[in-house]
């Protein structure tokens, strides 16, 4: 055998899960609910999504080029961020807002923290909160997300007033209720989220923990009748399935992940019940949970085996 032999460090096989695959899977998981959004809210939703994704990708790669002087075109993490940022806007939002949201997410909440894997906050959630904070005066209905051509208020409005009769489960499930583009088709979100978990792209401990405390707290404060409307309206499930499960901002250990999920559920339920910020409250809960993640990593640590003498 005279040919050159390949040498590489062990192990010589690696699992099929790559960063690229995980990011692609997360992107495709968002697609069905966004398609529902486009069908429900009109073609304008599509423009918002496209602008968000393209701005985010270009911005991310440009920053990467300035930083490292070389570009890895196969880094799709920014596409997920852009997609998510745009999907959190209502279809009535102006197009520039989608672009602005992506730039805020990529530049401030990703690049300034040190790039992929270093950010503390989920960029999409953070940029959504910032947008809501900046533009409160501009257009109040913007973030409560009324559908185009109708004067129906967001389900959250009724929920906060204890009116559960107005919203039908059907409209929540199939996304005709007013809301952000990607977050209203509950059925798609559920299916895609469960698929992601089944294929081990995301971890199931976080959503389980989140749902448990969310249901518990809603039950305590609003009674059993409120559980389903609260759970299925607004962006809670979207955030639970796609945003808090983001590997970068969640803790590393299994127990840490469970506590993180429980915390997120609690924050989300409490903010929703008080309904100070409308739909934005869930994203503030995401950020609050994000802040806890490094702390949880400090507290919950695996204990290595075999460091002590045994007898």
């Amino acid at each position: 055998m005279n040919k050159k032999l390949f040498v590489s460090p062990a192990p010589q096989i690696t699992s099929k899960y790559t960063t690229l695959l995980m990011m692609c899977a997360a992107t495709f998981a968002l697609v069905p609910s966004c398609v529902f959004g486009i069908v429900n809210y009109g073609i304008r939703a599509l423009y918002i999504l496209l602008i968000g994704v393209i701005t985010s990708f270009v911005c991310d790669r440009l920053l990467c080029y300035f930083k490292d002087k070389k570009v890895d075109w196969l880094d799709f993490s920014s596409i997920v961020t852009g997609f998510m940022t745009a999907a959190l806007l209502p279809a009535t939002a102006p197009l520039w807002m989608s672009a602005l949201g992506s730039v805020i997410a990529i530049f401030i909440f990703k690049f300034c923290f040190g790039g992929l894997g270093k950010n503390i906050f989920n960029p999409a959630a953070a940029s959504r909160v910032i947008l809501a904070a900046i533009f409160t005066g501009l257009n109040l209905s913007l973030f409560t997300g009324t559908a185009i051509g109708s004067n129906v208020a967001s389900p959250l409005y009724y929920l906060a007033n204890g009116d559960y009769s107005f919203i039908t489960m059907r409209s929540l499930f199939f996304g005709s209720a007013p809301g952000a583009i990607g977050t209203s088709a509950i059925i798609c979100i559920l299916i895609c989220g469960v698929l992601l978990m089944a294929y081990r792209i995301t971890d199931f401990t976080i959503p389980v923990g989140g749902v448990v405390t969310f249901i518990a707290i809603t039950w305590i404060f609003k009674g059993a009748i409120a559980i389903l409307p609260f759970l299925f309206s607004g962006s809670f499930l979207f955030a639970l399935m796609f945003m808090v499960t983001d590997p970068v901002t969640s803790p590393n250990t299994v127990w840490g992940k469970l506590i993180y999920g429980l915390l997120f559920g609690a924050f989300a339920a409490l903010f929703r019940i008080t309904n100070i910020m409308g739909e934005t409250s869930v994203f503030i809960a995401v950020l609050m949970a994000n802040i806890c993640a490094p702390l949880l990593d400090k507290i919950v640590k695996p204990r290595p085996l075999g460091l002590k003498e045994v007898k």
Binding site: L5, G117, T249
Partner: protein
């Protein structure tokens, strides 16, 4: 007990014949004098000597070393200093085979003289090496003064290519079982447990039928594990069985348990009942680039190039990989100019589509490595500590517990070289780095007498670990046995005139 690790069932590359073949003899054998992580044995033959098959060619160096025997009948034509297959520099005795078939085995032990002492002697002088980490001489496990309650025979195969154990259990079941009984007699364990994975249910069925036939069903326990890599590590297996994890560099005998492999049982049977010292091993030769994938009995010191010639390889013009050991923790070889040693399990010749070469990307903080590490190291934090070369932090995080199993690198989506980094930090924490001599090129020293000159005194110092951790716990009786058998053996060789160094 939670078993962590990865399931590798998807990687079942091709079918490997379950039978055994004896590899055609090579012309030249170059026998490495360091097999595992031990000190190099001292050569007792010189260039020009004739040796028979099974004749002693090296004696132990220091207190705990190994005897090395000639794999064939022939003439010593050279002594070469080169890299062995594990990548450490050591002397190789080059033996040219002749056409004679003479053997010089150890005396056969009869059934009624088999006592604990006799068996320990035999295990020591037969030079059997463990084929699982920490690749050392098999007898060392029996030297501690702790009372042994459990003898565990590890028959699991979690490395996807490794089929030698199953094949051995199918083909030579009674030999393996008798070897296990010898081991039980040696350590005086009350319980004998065989460990399998669920994947090997056919072998288990066969084994149960065999036990029933021999009327030993009550005496032997069978334990099944899920097919999760890694299970070959004796400390880890002991942890799964007892809930106690022995300290790094410790031995499972400290908690009253001894773990042996099925391959060792077979070899020990050969040593006791046939008098055959450890000169060959059951090895799986596999990989997609390999034509006759099978299990072979391969002699110590067989050149890999000879093996490749016999089993055949399709050279498709692709760059291939030659891996010694399993695909998860094996060593990729730079060339086929190496020879097999006694610690082998498998030799893989892989095509380019079988192994993955990925670019290292930034960590996305997913926690998969932390979740899967069998000894629960926070691998991600050790990786961060590596970037900062923060050895103190790595020590605090417990990098020393690492088994070098490769699971973390396997599961990492960013394909970071975590295993190597943790290993580096571990070595730094243990002050081990820098003791291997620089071994970048081969030195041919044909004819020069290395036993006499002190030039290569500071060879590998890894055996120190055993001394530090265990020496104070070695039972004095065992030590005496070791000392006496060594003396006996050497007296014999001097009488035979085979030893010119003494």
């Amino acid at each position: 007990m939670e078993i962590r690790g990865v399931r590798l069932k998807k990687y079942n590359f091709g079918k490997i014949a379950k039978d055994f073949f004896v590899l055609r003899d090579a012309e030249i054998y170059s026998v490495p004098l360091t097999a595992g992580d031990c000190e190099q044995s001292i050569r007792v033959v010189n260039v020009g000597d004739s040796v028979k098959e099974g004749a002693l060619i090296a004696k132990p160096n220091g207190k705990y070393g190994d005897f090395v025997y000639s794999p064939c009948c022939g003439k010593v034509v050279g002594v070469v200093k080169k890299l062995n297959i594990n990548g450490s520099l050591c002397e190789h005795v080059v033996i040219q085979k002749d056409n004679k078939q003479e053997t010089d085995y150890l005396p056969i032990l009869s059934e009624d003289e088999l006592g604990s002492e006799v068996l320990l002697k035999r295990l020591y002088e037969s030079g059997i090496m463990d084929n699982f980490p920490p690749y050392e001489s098999a007898y060392k496990k029996y030297l501690l003064k702790n009372k042994i309650n459990d003898l565990v025979i590890n028959c699991t195969e979690t490395d996807p290519y490794d089929h030698a154990t199953t094949a051995l259990m199918v083909t030579y079941l009674s030999e393996v079982f008798d070897g296990a009984l010898h081991f039980q007699k040696l350590c005086g364990a009350a319980k004998l447990t065989f460990v399998f994975t669920y994947k090997q249910h056919r072998v288990v069925k066969m084994f149960k039928a065999y036990l029933k036939k021999r009327g030993l069903k009550k005496k032997v326990k069978i334990k099944l594990f899920p097919n999760i890599y890694p299970l070959a590590y004796s400390r880890l297996l002991a942890y799964y069985l007892t809930g106690k994890m022995v300290k790094e560099l410790g031995r499972t005998a400290q908690i009253g348990m001894i773990v042996e492999s099925a391959v060792n049982c077979y070899d020990f049977y050969q040593a006791v009942n046939k008098g055959k010292p450890s000169i060959e091993r059951a090895i799986t030769v596999a990989g997609n680039n390999c034509i006759r994938k099978a299990n072979y009995f391969i002699k110590n010191g067989t050149p890999v190039s000879h093996i490749l010639e016999v089993v055949g390889f399709k050279e498709d013009g692709v760059d291939n990989m030659l891996i010694y050991g399993g695909i998860m923790s094996g060593v990729a070889q730079e060339s086929d100019n190496v020879s097999v040693s006694l610690t082998a399990n498998s030799l893989l010749l892989c095509e380019s589509d079988e192994f993955s070469i990925e670019k290292e990307r930034v960590c996305i903080n997913c926690g998969k490595c932390v979740e899967k590490c069998p000894v629960r190291i926070h691998v991600k934090d050790v990786d961060d500590a590596f970037e900062l070369r923060d050895y103190v932090k790595a020590k605090e995080l417990g990098a020393e517990a690492c088994l070098n199993c490769g699971v973390c690198s396997y599961v990492c989506p960013a394909k970071r070289f975590l295993t190597q980094k943790v290993q580096f930090m571990k070595n730094m924490a243990q002050n081990k780095i820098g003791k291997n001599p620089d071994s970048s090129d081969y030195v041919l020293v044909d004819g020069e007498d290395f036993g006499a000159s002190k030039k290569y005194d500071k060879i590998l110092d890894i055996d120190k670990g055993f001394k530090d951790a265990i020496e104070r716990e070695v039972s004095p009786v065992a030590e005496q046995i070791i000392a006496s058998i060594k003396q006996e053996k050497l007296n014999k060789t001097t009488k035979d005139g085979g030893n010119k160094d003494e």
